[in-house]
Structure formats: C-alpha cells, structure tokens
Symmetry: C2
Subunit: 461 residues, 2 copies
C-alpha cells in the first residue's frame, strides 16, 4: 500500500545491520572446532582481522559486508599450518634428491657456499608464494638470516614462527653457536611484538650443538617466552651420537635430562622414539612436527605420529624443507599421511581423513602453542581461512569433505587464501606480491647455483 | 646490398619447408626413449596423428606448422598412461572410504543398485575430464557397459583399453559369467577396428570366476587377439579362495596352471607375489598394473613393483578406481610410488624419479603391449603428448626435470594435453567436451546416490 514506507522500513532494517569487512557465504564450512561442526550453506563473518561470527545462512541478514565472497558451495576451512620447513631452500629444490648421507655430503657444503641474505630472501619469497597458493597461512621455519625471512612474511601478509638457526660449526650468519644465539636474540628483540611473526630459537639438532648451548637456549627461551625449534629423533646418526654423549640415552631422554624438553620446544620429525619417549613428550607439553613425505623420501622411517595424536600430544603436519619434501604445501602431505599410517598399521581405518585435517589445522596450532588464536573457525579467532574448489573434476562429488580433501585434493584446488582477515590470493591470483617478479628472481638465482656447484660437479643434478 | 633479393631468398626458403599440423617449440623435451634423450630448447613436430620429428631447436626451420605451441621452456613429455581404473566409479568417490571388507560389504551392493548405462556414461565423462586435465592420454578400464565408456572416450578424443567385466554373480549388464562373455564379445566385435579404442575382456578376479570361465576367456582372447584384464594377487581373501580351489597354489600359479597366464593378460595389483610368481609373470610376457596409492589406502600392502621393473617385467602405474585411489591422475601416484618404495627398501636411492616416469610412460605402454605406438616421443609414434608448467611456484626451479615431476608436480600443473595429434586441453581449457555440462550431470547423479543408499543408511558417508 505504501511502497515508500515499506522501502523505508527495509532501509532502516538494512542500516541496523552490523557493518563488517568480509563475509563468506554459501560455503561448506568445516570449522574444525572441538565438535567438528560443519555448516552446509554456511557463513563466516570477519571484522578487522578476526572471526566475528560463523554459522549457517541465517547469519547473512545481520551483517552488511564491505566485501562478500559467495563461494558457491566450496569448502571453507581454517588456513593450513606448516609446522616445519626451511622455506629459503626452494632455490635448491630438485638438486641431488636421492643421494645417501645427503645432509653432510651435499647440503651443508652447498649452504656453506651459497647461503646469503639474498638467497634467503629470494628463496623465502618463492616458498611463501607456493604456500599461499597451496592454502598454507602459517608456517614454522628454521634457517639463517631469519630477519630476511621475516621481511618477506611481513610483505606477503602470512603468519609465521621464524627460528634463527644455532649450530656448532661456522655458517653464513654466525661463526659459532654463541654468535648464532646472539643473532637470534637480536632478531627476537626486533620482532617480539610483530602481530603476525613469532621469532624463535632454532638449534639445529642435539648432536650438532653442545649440551651447554642447548641449555643456554632453553633458559633464554623461558626468559623471553619464545619457542625453540629443533630436529629431534630424526636419524640413526643422531641417535648414535647422543647415546655416546649421554650414557646410551635416546635423543628425547637426553633433552629431558638436560632440562631442554619443555613447553617452548617444537621437535621436528620424532621418528626414532619409543613409548618412554612419548611419555616424556606428553609430560613436557612440547609440540611435534610430523613430516611424513620428507621422512619416507629419505627412507628414515615413519614417526609414531598417529599414536602421539591419539594420546593427546600437540602434533601437526609439516613439509620439511623443499630439498626434502619437496613441496611446501600441506595438502600434498594429506594423502601420504593418511595412507602410509594405514599401511604401517595394516588397517585401512587407521588415520581417517578427519584426523589428518585436524593435524593440519588445530593439531598444528597446538604444536605451535597458538591454538587460542588460530587452527579453527571460531568466534574471536584470527581470520586465517582458505576456500577449496569443489568443482574441479578431481573434487567431484563430495559425499565426505574430509575424504575429498585428503584423498582427492591437490594444492591447485585452493581458490582463495585469507590471512589476518586480508585476502592474499583470490581466484588463484596473488594480491599482495608480484608473482612474476618473485619467480624471475628465483630463476635468476638458479644460474648462480649452476655456475657455483653444478658445473664443478660438486653436487649432482 | 640487395635486400629485396635477400628477402626473396628468404621466402623461397620458407616455402620450401615442409607443411605440418602442429609444432611444439622451446620445450624441455623428455623423450623417454631407450636412451632417455632430453632436449633443452627442443622441438616436436606432428603431422596427422603422428610424431614426424623430435629434436633440438634446429628442427624448427624445416617445418611450417599450421599450429605452433611455443611452450616457453615447459616440460614436454609422452602422455601419461593409467594402466588400471574403473572410470565410471567417479560418481561414488568419497563414499565409505575407510570401512573394512569394503568391496563385499559396500561396493558390490552399491553397484547392484546403481550401476546403469546412465551411471556408466556420467561417471566416465567425469573421469575422462579429470584424466585429460591431469595429463593422462591413455587408460585401461574394467567395468560394466563398456560400450558406454567407449562412446565417452571417442567423444573426448582419448585412447583407451576398455575391458568388459565378467563375474560369476548377477551384475547390471549380465545375469552370469556367460552373459558377461557374450556382452564382451559383442563389444569387442563392435570396437575391434576403432583407431583409439582397444576392446578387451575383464574377468573381475580369479576367485570371482570359475576355472572354466577363465579358460574360456583366455582362449577367446587369443582367437580375437584382444587383452584380458584381471585383478590378480590383490588380497588375502583371494589368496585363500584360490589356495582352497587349487591345491594351495598362489593366484599366479593357478592362472598359469589353467593356461590363462599369457601375453594378453594384464594383472592389476600383484601385491601378494613371491619370486616364483615373478618368474611365471616374466615367462608369460604378461603386463602388470601397479596401483600404489590404492593399495596402501586399503592397507593391502606394497607390490614388489620395483623388483619386477628391474627384472624387465612389463609394468606401469595405475590409479585403480576413484573409490580406491581416489584420483585418476597418474601424477598423483608419483610421490607415493617413489617414496613408499624407498621406505619399504630402507634406501633413499631406491625407485629414483626417472624410473617412476618410465613406469608411467614406456613401462605402462609395455604393460598394455602398446609400446610400438605410444609411451615415448619418437618418430613414427602416435602423438600423445603433454606439456607441464615449469613456472608454477611448486615447480621452480628445475635442476632435474624427473625430480620436479615426481616430487613437486601435481595434476594442476599440466598445461596442455594432446592425443592422436589433437589438442584436447589447451591452457587447462577443454576443447572437445563441455566441462560444465559434465560436472553438472555428475552432481545431479549424486542426488540419486544420496536418495538411494545414503539416506537409508546402507552406506556410510
């Protein structure tokens, strides 16, 4: 009868809706919360850098969003978390992949020649790009010149835990472990308050550092309240060296005995551990990074990751560095994590997809002690979110979204990546960095690698 | 001095070049020929449906191509061959993935209700699409209504070996094994001379057919000169049933003893075999389909595929059906094939990338006895060729192209797919079929699945 008045009512009603920055609609939302709540035709509402609401379609009418992403039924889930990598090593990827005793014969000598601020920046830019395009929103890194990595993370807009390496022999940014610790302290002081970057110590491994260094770092990490990342229980070489150093103790027992196994520690690999070690891991409340793809590529074995997960250990998935993994995308781990644990357990129901996705999101957030802010889509958490295509032929049909993600998806199926409420990739186009420039700089660097170590025959191609 | 005359010379020279249909230039060509010849900045020349020339850049000036694909340094290699699948089962993908005794408790009953001409066509269209987009140019299929699959293969332009199933209980297109054989014969007679389709028999497995049926098929296959595809040495259930039927013989020994192990046979899985079995396989000159991803997902074990390959057995890679694999892309197998064999052999140098790529191309061509026409880029062979992106962040850098393909690539990195000299996919766009229509029809069919078996609780999601 009075269209103008009705329109007025309508507009009043609209103006009464709450203004928000971003709303994702028509989504198959996997929240990965405690109850593993799933919303068909769901909605996620974001203000600033946080999740303001998550639920079904009825949420839509309460908000007026500056940007709306109608994802047409695609999967919306927490951003993936890569709990262990060496991102800058992308520039060495596909070099000398399958040679024995590779770390000591090839990688350390290669790094002695080629690691530099430039190399670290160029490699990190390439790796960040790969991760954002593969749906990784947070990663944990161990390398040199981590202040350079930090600059690249800041620029692209990702979240990261960045650990400055400490090792007993001379490396590119430190002549010895004490210099490494000092480098790390400077880095930690500079980045302690960064909203998306957590600086950390990264002693390379127990056997490549002295007991004194490991104890010093453990003490400093508790004072500074920063994480310590370390390669732990990874190889027989390490196991033998530590047994010799510490009266036959396992690497985990040794770390415990010297007071270095605590809630700040994140152990990568953890392959060679027994039930006694797992008990120590649980008591310490430390985190674990499970790197299936890298571990089986090197034939080192399979971590009892499923057992640790089932016992409540803080455990997430990692790719390891790109000379090991070789990709940085956590989606590329899914298939292998699910299937190799089934094979090892001789049980097709072992490691079902929902556990794999949990390890890639909440499990990983717990491993980094960041579960209060990331890892699931819940009100008040940081808005780190990815959208996965459900229409690519390999993803059709979706009776079970966890199965589809674990057994069918590849990193190219990620459509959008959002970190801290900001869209970093939209429809596979990068919005915060120049993809071509990053690729070209990386390819340029490969010429240096070829001229330095390949032509001389020092490293096999 | 005389620019016009020089221009004239130039043009004479151009008109003297040979006219061809398609030329691929600036390619990193992996020929996969006997010597594994690689051309940096290479060229592949195609006339009609065959490779006319392959070599370095100097070839270019001799040909005038109707279409030129300058691939800017991307990898050009033989199309991938999927030696074992059940393509139409895409419509069931992600259903009841991890339940025990799945074949007998879920899959056979599901198929009894839902397999139809429509289902086979819809599923095959979706699977074909996924394979072309993942770089598969030829596949070997075992299912029902294979004449429907044949029509889809013909339309999209792929190459395939299509095996009509024979099984001792009633199925959608036959009441018993004899009817299955008759269905297969009619199909074989109809498609015997198709340029891209090889019709075949597909007895499901030794334990799901009688000795008489297996012998009848073996005899008919030799008369008709068509392949026989079978699931062989796959499960303990099969092993026990055959041991009981045949005086404790292994499935391979049994097939040999009844005269069914011959050059026409292609055995899928071949997990539970010993050295004696491998010897029989070699003597018979049969082919083997190695389906790593499906086999470890079902926790059935790991086939001694590397041993067979090293001993010269005709062996290629397969995905198995999409309820098993779950993808149809051979690229998705690479990582798992390489790494799980390393793990099982406790040797990081076992199953190097070049062997994986060989098994996916020439090995697979040999398994299908098609090595004279496909599997490598050599003069006179059929032009089944794929182009793989080397600029995606996960593919940079490429020091070793085999490593990059095996450890880094995913199916989304395939840029172009060419079969029989015809471009089926260009820059990821399908040229011969309507991708949206195929996807929509598949999604439509999932409603029938939900209404028929999911809502009733007959199958778990």
């Amino acid at each position: 009868m009075f269209p103008a008045a009705i329109a007025g009512l309508c507009c009043l009603s609209v103006s009464a809706t709450e203004k928000v920055d971003l709303m994702i609609t028509d989504a198959l939302v996997l929240t990965m919360d405690q109850d593993k709540t799933v919303y068909q035709n769901g909605t996620v509402v974001i203000r600033d850098n946080k999740i303001l609401a998550v639920g079904d379609q009825s949420l839509e009418k309460h908000y007026q969003a500056q940007t709306t992403l109608d994802v047409d039924g695609d999967i919306v889930m927490p951003g993936l978390i890569n709990t262990h990598t060496h991102v800058s090593m992308t520039v060495f990827r596909s070099l000398a992949d399958d040679v024995p005793d590779r770390l000591h014969r090839y990688i350390f000598p290669l790094e002695a020649k080629l690691v530099s601020r430039d190399m670290v920046r160029i490699g990190a830019n390439l790796g960040n790009l790969e991760m954002v395009k593969g749906g990784v929103t947070t990663y944990a890194d161990m390398y040199y010149f981590e202040d350079e990595v930090a600059k690249t993370v800041d620029k692209i807009g990702m979240r990261a835990v960045l650990g400055e390496s400490v090792i007993k022999f001379p490396v590119a940014d430190a002549a010895n472990a004490d210099e490494g610790i000092q480098y790390a302290l400077n880095f930690i002081n500079a980045y302690k308050d960064h909203p998306r970057i957590t600086p950390a110590f990264a002693p390379h491994a127990p056997y490549t550092n002295t007991t004194e260094t490991l104890q010093k770092i453990a003490k400093l990490s508790l004072e500074k309240e920063v994480p310590v990342m370390i390669h732990l229980a990874e190889s027989h070489r390490e196991e033998e060296a530590i047994a010799e150093r510490a009266d036959g103790q396992s690497p985990v027992e040794y770390m415990h005995s010297i007071g270095a196994l605590n809630k700040n520690l994140i152990g990568a690999h953890m392959i060679l551990i027994d039930d006694k070690d797992i008990e120590l891991v649980k008591q310490s409340d430390m985190g674990v990074a499970h790197n299936m793809s890298a571990n089986i590529k090197s034939a080192k074995g399979v971590s009892p990751a499923l057992k640790m997960y089932d016992q409540g250990v803080r455990i997430g998935l990692g790719t390891d560095g790109p000379m090991s993994g070789n990709t940085l995308s956590i989606i590329d781990e899914f298939n292998q994590v699910a299937k190799v644990h089934k094979l090892m357990n001789q049980d097709r129901s072992a490691m079902p997809p929902i556990k794999v996705i949990d390890m890639a999101t909440m499990g990983a957030a717990k491993a980094l002690h960041m579960e209060d802010s990331i890892g699931s889509l819940e009100v008040g958490k940081l808005a780190d979110i990815i959208v996965v295509d459900t229409k690519a032929p390999n993803m059709v049909p979706i009776y079970n979204p966890y199965s589809a993600l674990v057994y069918s998806a590849n990193s190219g199926n990620v459509r959008h990546t959002i970190v801290d409420g900001k869209i970093l990739m939209k429809d596979r186009k990068m919005l915060t960095v120049d993809e071509d420039a990053i690729r070209n700089e990386a390819i340029e660097f490969t010429h240096i690698v070829r001229d330095t170590v390949i032509k001389s025959g020092e490293i096999i191609q």
